[in-house]
């Protein structure tokens, strides 16, 4: 089966610019996650969707970050305006919504550099 797809793979922008990332989860996976991974740290959940509803966005900096999953499939994560500290790898993951398994499958990530 095809894995989680993300684009772009790399993005370099200047501070105060805007940027958007796209994620296509594994077909049939109802739950979608966006993580931020700063260099030298583990991934940190930004937002979790179940279908097109938000389950957890407690760690999303809502003054500058937004995310949507309009049709319950693809998702976009936007940063506007970007700050230097937003430089990180942004990971998308998806999982089935069945039972206790809910194994998360990760995409390749988008590496964002803010200058």
């Amino acid at each position: 089966e095809a894995g989680v797809a993300q684009s772009p793979r790399y993005k370099i922008i200047e501070k105060r610019q805007s940027v958007a990332f796209w994620c296509n989860p594994i077909s049939g996976h109802a739950t979608l996650y966006w993580y931020q991974q700063i260099l030298g740290q583990g991934p940190k959940l930004l937002i979790q969707f179940q279908n097109n509803g938000v389950v957890d966005d407690s760690q999303l900096p809502k003054d500058r970050f937004s995310a949507e999953r309009l049709k319950g499939v693809d998702s976009t994560l936007k940063i506007q305006p970007a700050k230097l500290e937003d430089s990180a790898v942004y990971l998308c993951a998806s999982s089935l919504d069945i039972g206790r398994d809910r194994q998360q499958f990760f995409g390749p990530g988008t590496r964002l550099t803010v200058l």
């Binding site: 740290q41 583990g42 991934p43 990971l91 039972g99 206790r100 998360q104």
Partner: protein, 109 residues
């Protein structure tokens, strides 16, 4: 709040030597514990989970609730084990993963 601590950022051992990557967690309930691995230029992927009690690629991990630890072990390291390893905690099935900072394991020939 849940927290996962991996005390070693870097760990280097020789091929054939035993390996132990440490993971400690803080959580008052009964969480699910996982080890994820990221090989060079590959995606983050699940290595094993405590509920499965399985051995994957020769690795095992035992959940010690008394010490709140979930150390990853392998008796004989191989060069292909070189990777970043992340310990993660999930309070419940529908809840988020909380990751440790990761340990970079290098196996020397």
């Amino acid at each position: 709040a849940q927290r996962v601590t991996q005390p070693e950022k870097l760990l280097s051992v020789f091929k054939g030597a035993p390996v132990e990557l440490k993971c400690n967690y803080s959580y008052s309930g009964s969480p699910e514990l996982f080890w994820y691995v990221q090989y060079s230029r590959q995606r983050l992927q699940l290595l094993l989970r405590h509920i499965s009690r399985e051995s994957i690629k020769g690795f095992t991990a035992d959940l010690n609730k008394g010490e709140t630890s979930f150390h990853l072990k392998k008796p004989f390291a191989q060069e292909e084990d070189s990777a970043m390893y992340y310990c993660a905690l999930r309070p419940g099935p529908a809840q988020k993963l909380v990751f440790g900072q990761g340990t970079r394991l290098t196996i020397n020939p």
